[in-house]
Each structure stands twice: as C-alpha cells, then as structure tokens.
C-alpha cells in the first residue's frame, strides 16, 4: 500500500521546524516511528535528503555539513545510536563537533514488540556515557522550539545534542490505537 500524501501533523511541524532553524541537509536511516518525516523530507526540494545504509554514516555527513557552514540533522530510531556510537564519540571527544540528532523512542511504555525494549533500555545509558544532553519531545507544541534550541545548544557547547521523539510526535503503531 502506498503511503498517504498527507503528512501527519508531527511530521509537518518537524519539517517546518527544520526550515525555521536553517537546516539544509537531512540524513537518515528510515524507520517506522518517524515515517512521515522521512517521506516529507524526501519530497521536499528545499532540503537535501540523504538516506544512508547504516547510522554510522550519519555523524560524518553532519560534521561535513557543519564545517561547510550549513546545518544538518541526523534522524534515526534510537537503536541507531548504538550503530553510530563510535563516530559520535570520536567527533565529539576528538573534534568537539556540534551535531544535532533526532531519534524516535522505540520501547516506549506499552511497547508490544519484544525486540523493541532493548532500544529504550540502552538509549539513556549510552547518551549519558557520551555526555550528550537530550530531551524527550512528546507534545506537538514542543517540536519547533526543541529543534531551534537544539542548534543553539549544540553550536555553543561544541557537542552533540539529542531529541528523542515520542507521544504525539511519532506515528502511532496500529496496535496502540484506541
């Protein structure tokens, strides 16, 4: 079944927030919880959307974009944090590189997939180990301010930051409706 052309509200706000923050490059490993974001970015000609094969590719693309004087965001499921951990650690600890990442919170309270719980269980310990400040974004009205502040925080601290999307700000799995 082809996905609907209509973007869900959270995805519209996410993409509007990127544009208002001056983001020009969106790199990602697509997944289901932020599906509308990937779909919307892929068809938006004002964004350079770069899908990759592995989350470990994302930090380099973000760093290169930053060093070019532009803004990038890396988008993934929280499981991708584990794949991307080595380049994130190197770019931050070795190069003090700003980097803004957005990830969906797989393993939220009520998760029904047995394979999804480890993502939530390992995410916060990894972010804390990497000393990466993060915020959970659960309400629609939080999306745009969070994106704007993420760039301020990352640029001035010379360090990655993470936004973790959940609640109203992700796709609702079919099993969770009603």
């Amino acid at each position: 079944m082809q996905p609907s052309n209509e973007l869900p509200k959270y995805a519209q706000l996410f993409i509007e927030g990127l544009k208002e923050a001056g983001v020009s490059v969106v790199c990602a490993v697509p997944e289901s919880l932020l599906a509308g974001v990937y779909r919307g970015c892929a068809r938006d000609n004002s964004l350079r959307y770069i899908p990759v094969t592995n989350e470990a590719e994302l930090p380099g693309i973000c760093a290169g974009t930053y060093l070019a004087g532009k803004k990038a965001i890396m988008v993934m499921e929280n499981s991708g944090l584990r794949q991307a951990c080595e380049p994130i650690a190197r770019f931050s600890f070795c190069h003090a590189m700003p980097m803004v990442m957005a990830m969906s919170f797989r393993g939220e309270w009520g998760e029904r997939n047995w394979w999804g719980h480890n993502h939530a269980q390992t995410m916060e310990p990894i972010l804390n180990a990497l000393r990466i400040p993060f915020r959970f974004i659960a309400r629609l009205d939080e999306i745009k301010p969070a994106i704007k502040k993420a760039y301020y925080h990352s640029d001035s601290s010379n360090w990655p930051v993470a936004m973790v999307f959940t609640g109203e700000c992700v796709e609702v799995p079919a099993y969770a409706k009603n």
């Binding site: 990759v52 094969t53 380099g60 930053y66 004087g69 380049p87 190197r90 190069h95 003090a96």
Partner: protein, 203 residues
C-alpha cells in the same frame, strides 16, 4: 607506487580553493607537509572520511572536494560506498591509499591484500569513474581528470606496503583534533565569507 609519490602528485594540482578530508594514518604526515593551506580536515575517525567529504560536497557544490581515504578506513564502513553511489556528488573525488595493510599498528593485512577489490565494490555500489591506479603516471592522469570532469570519481591507488616516508618529529603533524577543526573551520569561513562559529552571544 609509494604513497609519498601519490601525495606529491595530488599536491601539484590541489589549490587553496579546494577542500579535503583525510584518513588517520601515515597519510596525515605526508599530506601535512604538502597541503597548500589549512584547507584539510584531518578526520580522526576511520570510516567517516568519505561521509565528512560528502557533507562538504553537497553543501558546497561549487567547490572541489577530495577525500583522501585508506583501505582500512573504507573497509570499516563499506555502506558509505552505496550512499556515494546513490548521491554521486559531481564535485567529489575519493582517493583511497590502498597499501593492503594496517600500517600504523605494525602491518597486519587488510582484506584488499587478499581478494577484495575496492574499485569494483565502489562501481557495484553505484559510484562512477571507479579506477584502480597501479603506477604514479596512471594515478596522476586519472586524478587530474577526476578533479575537473564534473562527475564524482573513486580512485584507488595501490601503494607499496611498509614504504612510509621517514618524517622527522619536527615535520610530523603537530595539531590535535580540536585544533584541526578550528583551523579548517576558520579557513572555510574566510574562503566562503561566512560565519560558522561566532563565539559568545551577548544577551
């Protein structure tokens, strides 16, 4: 072909208007002594040299971008080839210094010393202009063409193992990763006439 020969050939045509990324390894000292300016981001992350160059290439499409890779770095993150093959940034040239060994740690072989062919892998991943150069004349000819042909290029330079140039300590790369970032960042600011990192905001 020795790596230092390939580096000298690159230095003969790279200008201060070009931007580069480089892999960790002996390439750092070789290129440190031949770079025309602070126009190189010495990437301290194996597997992230080409991705950093990709970010530069898509963001600065008017500028020639070169990634100086190593076989060890490419092998650590081969999916990047597929992303390069999809994006095909026309201003990007990837040069892989392929000596078939992990030279910095004493020389255990990489898979390119067995059966792995990086140029064929890149071609299969969708990259264009994928060439393996086995002598300096070939390398020089292909590198010059790839820089200016308006298409991406993927040039694998088969270089001699255990042929590191004996740089004296005073001539070895002296900077750390944070200084590398700032040198490169400030260089791009001047080159592009932009402010990337303004420092403190007074409010």
């Amino acid at each position: 072909m020795q790596r230092i020969e390939a580096i000298k050939a690159m230095a003969a045509v790279i200008t201060k208007d070009d931007l580069l990324t480089t892999s960790i390894g002996q390439t750092w000292d070789d290129w440190w002594n031949h770079k025309p300016a602070d126009n190189t981001f010495f990437t301290g992350i194996l597997g992230s040299v080409s991705t950093t160059a990709l970010g530069l290439a898509v963001s600065l499409p008017h500028r020639r971008i070169v990634a100086i890779e190593s076989d060890g770095s490419v092998l650590l993150n081969t999916g990047v080839m597929c992303t390069l093959g999809k994006e095909r940034p026309p201003n990007l040239t990837v040069v892989v210094m392929d000596n078939g060994i992990y030279e910095n740690i004493g020389g255990p072989p990489t898979h390119t010393s067995a059966h792995t062919d990086l140029a064929k892998m890149a071609e299969g991943a969708g990259c264009v202009n994928c060439i393996t150069a086995r002598d300096i004349a070939d390398f020089d000819r292909h590198f010059r063409r790839m820089l200016d042909d308006g298409e991406m290029g993927y040039l694998v330079a088969k270089i001699e193992p255990f042929a590191r140039h004996p740089w004296e300590w005073k001539d070895r790369k002296a900077t750390d990763g944070i200084e590398d970032k700032y040198r490169f960042l400030r260089y791009v600011e001047k080159l592009e006439g932009v402010v990337i990192h303004p420092g403190a905001v007074q409010n």
